[in-house]
Symmetry: C2
Subunit: 282 residues, 2 copies
């Protein structure tokens, strides 16, 4: 069982920032990833729809032998995690709770900003978790619906339009003296430096992927699911790609475009040895 893969899913390519983190922190684990590229983005869909899509994808990942599920999508974590935990017996972790925990630890003045999709911000879930961790914090949320299409267009760092969009979305934080900003969408770490430039050096950016992976490790240990060879990352690397754990990637549309995008996020050795499958749910 501990050799079974960790199932990871996202609405599209953004979840690969979580995959990258897992590969770094847990190099012995095999991954099976599903990106719902046919139905991306999730952020402007209703709760019912995101719940339905999440259940379909988890069923698929379980059919492929996943031993645990990481919901690497803030929107799905925000609106579907609790229902998925009720529906499935396998351990399931989302990115929101670990992200909120990290932010509550980082802040000094207790003023925290959260940016994400419309659905994530509307759900108020970061606010709920942050105030559960520390009732004294004040949380300011802001939806940034254009960030995902800007990332998918490839207008990333150093882009004047992306910077202006960021300034418009983030202007409201300036008066609030936040000292911490949660990147509450897995696409947003790809805009990290432009966001940092706009909010200024005094604001600490929190990427929930980092903390999520730490919690994932505890979850695996707790459930005796951690791959014993997980500590052998360096010897894996030294031994070359032949003994790297097998990863599998599936998307619901446009595998080629996914591969291109993934090439900019993941270590090249990963994608060189894997095929990307297309899976359709209807």
């Amino acid at each position: 069982m501990d050799n079974a893969p960790i199932g990871v899913f996202d609405s599209g390519v953004g979840g690969l920032t979580v995959v990258r983190e897992i590969m770094e922190q847990l190099p012995g684990e095999a991954l099976i990833y599903f990106g719902d590229t046919a139905r991306v983005p999730y952020g402007n869909k209703s709760e019912e729809t995101v719940v339905r899509y999440s259940a379909q994808i988890i069923k698929f990942l379980l059919s492929k032998g996943a031993k645990t599920i990481v919901i690497a999508c803030n929107t799905a974590s925000a609106v579907a995690l609790e229902k998925m935990k009720e529906m499935f017996e396998v351990p399931i972790i989302g990115v929101v709770k670990p992200g909120a925990k990290a932010a509550a630890e980082v802040t000094k003045n207790g003023k925290i900003g959260v940016i994400g999709t419309e659905a994530t911000i509307r759900s108020g879930i970061y606010n709920d978790f942050l105030r559960k961790t520390d009732p004294h914090v004040t949380v300011y949320g802001k939806a940034c619906p254009l960030f995902v299409p800007l990332v998918e267009e490839g207008w990333l760092e150093e882009d004047t339009i992306t910077e202006q969009v960021a300034r418009r979305y983030l202007a409201g934080f300036c008066g609030q003296e936040i000292d911490t900003l949660v990147l509450g969408c897995t696409h947003y770490p790809l805009l990290r430096s432009v966001i940092q430039k706009v909010v200024g050096d005094k604001v600490r950016l929190v990427n929930p992927a980092v903390e999520t992976t730490r919690e994932l490790k505890y979850l695996l240990e707790e459930n005796h699911l951690l791959n014993e060879s997980a500590g052998a990352g360096e010897s894996y690397a030294a031994a070359g790609k032949e003994v790297l754990p097998r990863h599998e990637f599936f998307v619901s549309d446009r595998a080629e475009k996914f591969k291109q995008f993934a090439a900019g996020i993941l270590p090249s050795v990963v994608l060189r040895q894997e095929n990307i499958g297309v899976e359709i749910f209807e």
Copy 2:
């Protein structure tokens, strides 16, 4: 049969610019609209996926008694129209061919620009139809993937960011001396004035919805499907909303948001009297 509704569909709200045109030109016709708001946008999906979605929606519209189908989505018209004509017996019309015909008639110097989604531009279909109509024209295509999210964010006319995005996308046309520009996506008429500002007054903008509705009228006449009362638009209006034809609207997600958006596009009397249903295909 001539009292049966015209079925119209789009990936989301954009097709309402076509609905508005049909209501104006054919005021006696009842409409049944489907907006695939759960799976919008279509423009970055593969051909196979758009074909599958189109077939699902047409089946639904036929189950509701549609006498003819208008594909009010350039992407679906570009990649799925011919296959839909093979699959279904009912008359089906798309927006691309009428749009191309109108552009070929308007141009004087034979240099035509086309803007649309990635899928529409990649298909090269405007180029094919334009050159079939007039082999001497030169066609310049440009995909503008951010225009749809900008429209959905409500950053429309007079918006400095939208204007800069338009300048970046349309800069390439400046050297080409086009005198005609096809708005090859049903969302784009909502950015009409900013696009006109950027390309300059000498360039004529072509909105395929206008010509599509003219062709729809011929198609209905040809198939003896035109509602006899279609010429009675003025007396309809004079008699008040009670005798307006019944329209039905369906979406695959977020009916409330659709209604809000539609309120900015359609005559208010239409939406006041209709409910919006939610229909799911999986």
